[in-house]
Amino acid sequence: MIGLIVITHGDFGRQLIKAAQVILGEQKEIWALSLHEKDGLETLRERIGKILKEGSEQSEGKIVLVDMIGGTPANASLKFVNDEKVEIISGVNLPMLIAGMNYRQSLPLKELARLIRQKGEESIVDVKQKFLEKVSKVKNK
């Protein structure tokens, strides 16, 4: 199973995992790392490194989901950019995490990373506009 690591400013990632588990039930092979005021870049790098080592021999790889490109979680993750078994994606949200959880047993690492990115991009929708368009289509039928 591909592992998922959610790294964010504050406890956003921890809570995001909880939210996803309300929908999908308890998950294994998933980690949250929270960056707090006292934490520096190097301490975060070390914590990421430790998680990446867990079960890395037989692991199919891990996907690091960070909150924002340019932020410390993303910057710290970049230390592992040359690791073949690590993918890093920014902008983590609930649909992305759910996609990761739902397909990590059926897709190889690179394809899973691509799907997660795609789901994230598709998830940003002007809901009001979409709803009103659909309603007007129904009315004009």
């Binding site: 309300v22 929908i23 759910i98 739902n102 709803f131 309603v135 129904v138």
Partner: protein, 164 residues
Amino acid sequence: MGMVLIRIDDRLIHGQIVENWMKFLKINHLIVVNDFVASDQMQKVLFSMAVPEHTKISILTIAEAKEAILNGHFEGDRAMLLFASPQDVLNLINKGVRIKEVNVGGIHYSPGKKQILKAISVSKEDIQAFQELDRFGVHLEARMVPDDEKIDIMEIIKRETKQE
């Protein structure tokens, strides 16, 4: 094939359905059975937006659902039927549809109801409907998501009604 899962969940279509149950059971046809939603264009649009594009979705009244089921319309599908209440399921059975098993996913709390499980709160009318379903031989299993433990809801209702 046919009706793979019949579920009571008053939120009808939501994240647990689309992202979890449908994938888990490989559902290809989602059917909301609800007189109110089926007669309200806005509600219909709202629920049709809750499923991924290209998902087959039907929103039927209880009477329409009866016709569809008795005419075997879902035989070639892997269908999931969603009801908002045990009364609606009972209503369908009273119209002549046979149902063996119902999953109870969520009935939300409101004043006057009693919470019996994390996601299930029941009124007196709900309890009566469950008891009636039980008498019809319908197996009632409480389970929010597939990985949760299956709980026999009648066991809990029996315990609750004894206490009163």
